[in-house]
């Protein structure tokens, strides 16, 4: 039986390589938030309260573009809807835990923590190697693997808070002529371009981008939401058309 402590520390160990990528993000967020004119306290408060990198970046970007609050909230929450996927995927493993632990772990649920934790949960237990894999699936949550989740999540949380705080402190001294606000769209480019693999994904991204440019005249910056929904619709449509075409081909063979 693996102990709580070793699970906790192996969670920390496994998230370390990912932190190398998280630290620059945290620093850039802090600098960008300050150059967007967000007060230091508010910028750090967002790291505590929201604790979601991409939503924080988008919020800063939209604040500096003068977007109405309702649109900012809608966009940030839309972006965070993907966490429902993570939540659903981890739920079977966490269902036996008391609610207060579930609540704590839900707060620490991020892209990075999810990625390492779900991989860990899907590995068979070292101490339970004589139990059939089916039995482990039926009775998950016995091994203290939630300590692994807690270790990874807490480590990421600490580094994120520290990194954004340093970025905020540095950001106060950066002159506007450095154009550091441009790091935000660059960050988004770095995130989204490698994620585009299928034609449907390219269609979704392209449609959303073009519609956003064309719809910039819409009142209240509604263009962003319209563009996002149009892009999603385009991607879903193309995907279902492609699936159908394959289905027809298979039928002919």
């Amino acid at each position: 039986m693996t102990s709580k402590r070793s699970e906790f520390f192996s969670g920390i160990k496994d998230i370390l390589p990912i932190l190398l990528g998280v630290v620059p993000f945290a620093l850039i967020y802090g600098v960008a938030a300050r150059s967007a004119g967000i007060p230091a306290i508010a910028a750090q408060a967002m790291s505590f309260i929201v604790f979601a990198g991409s939503a924080q970046f988008v919020t800063v970007q939209l604040i500096s573009a003068g977007t109405p609050v309702a649109i900012i909230i809608l966009t940030a929450c839309l972006l965070n809807l993907r966490h429902a996927l993570y939540s659903a995927s981890l739920a079977p493993y966490l269902k036996r835990l008391p609610l207060r632990l579930q609540m704590l772990l839900a707060y620490l649920l991020t892209d990075e923590a999810y990625a390492v934790t779900i991989t860990h949960y899907r590995q068979p237990d070292v101490g339970a190697r004589f139990i059939a894999p089916e039995a482990q699936i039926i009775a998950p949550g016995h091994a203290p693997k939630h300590w692994y989740f807690f270790g990874a999540g807490l480590m990421l949380w600490s580094i994120w808070q520290l990194g954004t705080a340093i970025g905020i402190l540095l950001g106060a001294n950066v002159p506007a002529s450095w154009s550091l606000d441009f790091t935000l769209p660059l960050t988004f480019i770095a995130l989204v371009v490698p994620a585009l693999k299928t034609r449907a994904e390219w269609a979704a991204a392209g449609t959303a981008g073009v519609v956003a440019v064309l719809a910039v005249g819409l009142p209240l910056n509604l263009g962003l939401i319209v563009a996002t929904l149009t892009g999603m619709a385009a991607g879903l449509l193309l995907e279902s058309l492609e699936t159908k075409r394959w289905a027809v081909k298979d039928g002919e063979d």
Partner: protein
Amino acid sequence: MFLCIGVITYAIRLSFIGLLGTKEMPAFLLKALRFVPIAVLPAIILPQLFLRGNTLDFSLANPRWIAGILAAIVAWRTRNVLLTIVVGMAVLWGLQVLLARI
């Protein structure tokens, strides 16, 4: 505003773990959710690159779209976040200096 985003984000994260248990998510919703980041990010990026104020600016006097496209190529070829940002900023600064001299 931050509180609002934070509370909703937290509710999303807690949704299945704490409340909905192991209920299955509808297949269509699963598919649609995958497209959210892929659609929302370009919708934020492209206006940043190609618009000045509210008008399209494809001219060479607008260094942002050139820097953005080069950064996108770097992101596509290398998948390296930091390198993408460094190249994008370097191109932007280079062009800004160049434009100031013309």
